[in-house]
């Protein structure tokens, strides 16, 4: 089971620019390395990260993408991403990591805008 550490301010003022941080546990195996026995280690990467914003009271699939990124082999294990967001209304930030071998990790964090 993967773990993620997400840092979002609990509350924010309307119009304020927030820094969001997301760290996820993942080996990010490149597919180019060999084990000590000489066998090629199979590629195991997170391929895509996205964060959607869902306004309070709306259903999940109405969310808008705030940021999305495609990840590649040169990114270190346990990738850390941070980005900025302008707070407009209260809602939920839905984080999603997807990758090789069916990897999928989702987290939701509430954002209260006053």
């Amino acid at each position: 089971m993967a773990r993620a550490l997400i840092t979002v301010p609990r509350t924010a003022k309307r119009g304020e620019i927030l820094e969001i941080r997301a760290l996820v546990q993942h080996p990010m195996e490149t597919g180019y390395r060999r084990s000590s026995e000489g066998d090629l280690l199979p590629r195991d990467l997170i391929r895509r990260f996205s964060c959607r914003f869902v306004e309070s009271g709306k259903t999940d699939d109405t969310g808008v993408i705030v940021i999305a990124a495609t990840l590649h082999a040169a990114i270190a294990a346990n990738p850390y991403l941070s980005f900025n967001l302008r707070a407009a209304t209260s809602g939920t930030l839905a984080f999603n990591w997807e990758g090789d071998n069916g990897f999928s990790h989702r987290e939701q964090v509430a954002l209260i805008v006053t």
């Binding site: 773990r3 840092t7 941080r21 760290l23 294990a77 346990n78």
Partner: protein, 257 residues
């Protein structure tokens, strides 16, 4: 910030006339002080330090029932915050184990005797998670090995090993970590070899690892046969290192290059 803190202490102590003591104390530096600012920043910020993922794992395991007794660590020990100070005391003598053990061995002792579950293997992610989650509660505490005669014996054995030249390279731990500390070995700066940051997230490992993993790395680096995980020789070295760093602050989970 750290360096200024030490410097002011030196001045304060010098004014009090404790010059020789102050020099001995101020010359001790954590591996943190030898790192690049970018690596230091990773360690200083819990939202960026990847080891915090292991801590989160460990905190979850603390509350999980396991083994034949179906007890969790929390059932017997309460809130993990109550372990404050514990990590700063290890290795220590354990009457149950009839010997000196490190923190991970104490955790496994609880697994096998109190939970009646299988011991976690060395460097297992769950074991490192729990160990790191316990260590983080003692952050900022001075390393304080207890006064136990069995521990003193282990420290002495560890000190002898620290001075023994080993491997094809024929260097002792002290050669590198005292005489050559601060100098470069290939791309790395040789630190003083203090155990204050363990378990650490090492960028080279891309994972959290134990002090024993680090010590085994140093042994292989000088082309000597490393002791196996859990060997009493490694625990003796850990006991000596803790005593050599007594009074320095625990900074787990450290980040190292």
């Amino acid at each position: 910030m750290r360096k200024i803190g030490v410097a002011t202490r030196v001045i304060a102590l010098a004014m009090l006339g404790f010059v020789s003591l102050a020099v001995a104390q101020s010359t001790r530096q954590s591996g943190f002080d030898f790192m690049q600012p970018a690596t230091q920043a990773l360690q200083k910020d819990d939202t960026q330090n990847p080891a915090m993922l292991w801590v989160k794992d460990g905190q979850a395991i603390w509350a999980q029932r396991d083994g034949a007794t179906q007890k969790s660590c929390a059932d017997c020990h309460g809130d993990i915050k109550r372990t404050r100070g514990v990590a700063a005391r290890y290795p220590q003598y354990s009457a149950e184990a009839k010997g000196v053990i490190n923190l991970s061995q104490q955790i496994n002792q609880c697994r096998t005797t109190h939970q009646q579950a299988k011991a976690w293997p060395a460097e297992d992610a769950s074991l490192l998670g729990v160990e790191t989650a316990i260590a983080v509660e003692s952050r900022g505490q001075p390393l304080a090995p207890p006064a136990q005669s069995q521990l003193v014996d282990a420290q002495k054995r560890g000190e002898a090993a620290f001075d023994r030249r080993i491997g094809q390279v024929d260097l002792s731990c002290r050669d590198c970590h005292e005489s050559l500390a601060g100098k470069r070995l290939g791309g790395n700066i040789i630190p003083q070899g203090h155990p204050t940051g363990y378990p650490i997230y090492r960028l080279e490992w891309q994972a959290v690892g134990s002090l024993q993993r680090r010590l085994r790395n140093c042994m292989t680096a000088v082309r000597s046969e490393p002791y196996p995980y859990g060997a009493s020789e490694l625990v003796d070295l850990e006991a000596y290192l803790a005593n050599r760093a007594a009074g320095m602050q625990l900074e787990s989970p450290g980040v190292r290059p």
